[in-house]
Subunit: 348 residues, 2 copies
DNA sequence: TTGTAGGCGTTATCAC
DNA sequence: GTGATAACGCCTACAA
């Protein structure tokens, strides 16, 4: 262990400026409660010595850490990376620092991560989606740690959240597909177990087709884990029968990209032979050929909004509700009507 | 501010177990220095009360936080997101937590972020690439905070680092391009100012073509900021003259994807009319059509290795050197020889 | 093996 | 407006 040179402390600054530690502390935390002359002198010393408050000490004395924790499935996924980046930027803007943990898609370790974050004094915690063991919510509540759900919004659920309505968004897309005349529908859904976002999307889609009177057997659903490859495999299965779907709706863009690429391999023209839709509108959606008709989600806006909401919860005891964010459909060339006519933006 | 329920403290546990706080502390930090009978009794109380050590207090008393900080340009970029995810996973594996900051590509705010991380008691710090103000290195050194550079490896540079040799990697690719018979070369480089990774790549490429005697005017270089769109714009410029290059080598895959898409728009066939190469081998590289010939970088391996290296530096005072990671060329269909024959994997 | 007591750096509550 | 001073919760010599 290297012998850490002693960092300058409040005391050092106080001595150097010829005032008490209390005054230095005030200069930093309540600048208006100190007269300008002394303030200038103190701040000059702060700068000269390169003083930075000691975190542990401050946490202990003030019972605040200006740290918030986030637990996400993984950063290695464009939809979380994007929002998390914006979340962190906004946190920084407001003087907070981000502590991250990831479950690597193993929900069973989330409880432990929550404990770790709380033990580290996180002033608030960000979680993705609603689905999790009730014990986690209870633990957080018992410790009075402000907790915000992101990437989902369900007006029925009392948990404070910042996100969009996955179900309603998918309903809009499904209705669009229906209006394009499609009556044989294939669906590639992400894993719904323990993932309310995927589940809501699937529900939204079923809602619409049922309402419109689509016979049950005309809707074929395959559920599969995340990944380009998995999307391709599921697509091949859906297209295998003798009455293949005219459109394959995917639970997210990554699955959809897998489907598109598999279609190419199978010498199927998208969208003439089969239409494909996605969800999320990640960068990939515009780059694949043909570009995906998908649901655009304001990831960065959501990240920023989540940061502001969570900090407000921490600082003002607010508990929302926060207004849902709006998603919107992006019409692109991967969706055609039942006659093969594309109404979206042509490639590219 | 919600009134936080008072968490159990060491003292509470000590009282409940009828021992001193020192004993409780030892049970937790040096279990073998306490007799089994009392240890059992103490640990039972710890569990019953749901005691967790207070982080701030522990940090102050022990001068260790089991926290490491990372400062990256942005999480919203596949190459950092991947490595960072692996870094975090390995940190967690070894009992550490990750504090993240991002510069959003504004190097001038890095110094401040470093201070913040150090003030928060980060036991070590991860930085991307070598290029930065010397004052930052001095600050870190003066505080004896173990600092590791990632995403780059330069054997000339004494800073401990975990990464690969950007220059040598690009040299290998450039030689391959040369061997394919290309003699009119276009280059789209990322911004080299303050970015040694981009600069080294460009150097590697110049090295090879100069060595092989390529006339100076046959190498046209455009430097541009990161982004698909920027890649496209640069590509259009390079192809504008009456002696356009037969190959366009890009500093990263994102620029290359921009180039490929712009080529489509310009009705140019890749690679028959012009070859295009990338660097990084992100997922996109395999999805774009044609797939990119590029340099594969082991992002996850690098993230894990960085975590291990940094923790070793923190715990054992090691300062490396750590062995460089190996990149390798991925031959795919975006590169053809000068006669238009593809030797890489055909699409897809 | 276990207990006592000092100190870590800050904030907050009082007096002055 | 400013200065003492008492917490805050834990670790770790040092003593017993």
């Amino acid at each position: 262990m290297p012998a850490k040179p002693k960092l300058p402390t409040l005391d050092d600054v106080a001595k150097a400026a010829g005032v008490s530690t209390a005054t230095v502390s005030r200069c930093l935390n309540a600048p208006d409660r100190v007269v300008k002359a002394t303030k200038d002198r103190v701040l000059a010393e702060v700068a000269r010595l390169g003083y930075t408050p000691n975190f542990g000490a401050r946490a202990m004395a003030a019972k605040r850490t200006f740290t918030v924790g986030a637990i996400i499935p993984t950063m290695d996924n464009a939809i979380f990376a994007r929002g998390l980046q914006a979340f962190q930027e906004q946190l920084h803007e407001r003087g907070y620092t981000l502590l991250v943990s990831s479950t690597s898609y193993r929900p069973e370790i989330e409880a432990e991560q929550v404990r770790t974050l709380v033990a580290r004094g996180a002033d608030g915690v960000l979680l993705i989606g609603y689905d999790r063991d009730a014990a986690i919510y209870e633990y957080l509540a018992s410790r009075s740690v402000p907790t915000l759900i992101a990437w989902a919004y369900d007006k029925e659920n009392p948990q404070p959240s910042v996100g969009f309505d996955n179900r309603a968004s998918m309903q809009a897309l499904a209705q669009l597909v229906w209006d394009h005349g499609h009556r044989r529908i294939g669906v590639i859904s992400g894993t719904t177990q323990g993932n309310d976002r995927a589940r809501r999307r699937l529900e939204g889609l079923r809602d619409v087709f049922a309402q419109n009177g689509l016979p049950h057997e005309a809707l074929k659903v395959i559920e599969t884990p995340y990944g380009v490859k998995n999307g391709g495999i599921a697509f091949a299965k859906l297209m295998a029968g003798d009455m293949p779907p005219s459109v394959v709706m995917c639970g997210n863009d990554v699955l959809a990209v897998g489907a598109v690429r598999r279609a190419h391999l199978m010498k199927l023209d998208v969208p003439r032979d089969v239409s494909i839709t996605g969800f999320d509108d990640i960068e990939l959606a515009r780059i694949v050929s043909p570009p995906l008709t998908t649901v655009h989600v304001p990831h960065r806006k959501m990240g920023r909004a989540a940061a502001n909401a969570l900090i407000d919860m921490v600082e003002t005891d607010s508990i929302g509700p926060f207004p849902p964010l709006q998603s919107k459909i992006r019409m692109r060339a991967s969706l055609a009507d039942i006659n093969g006519n594309v109404t979206g933006t042509p490639d590219p």
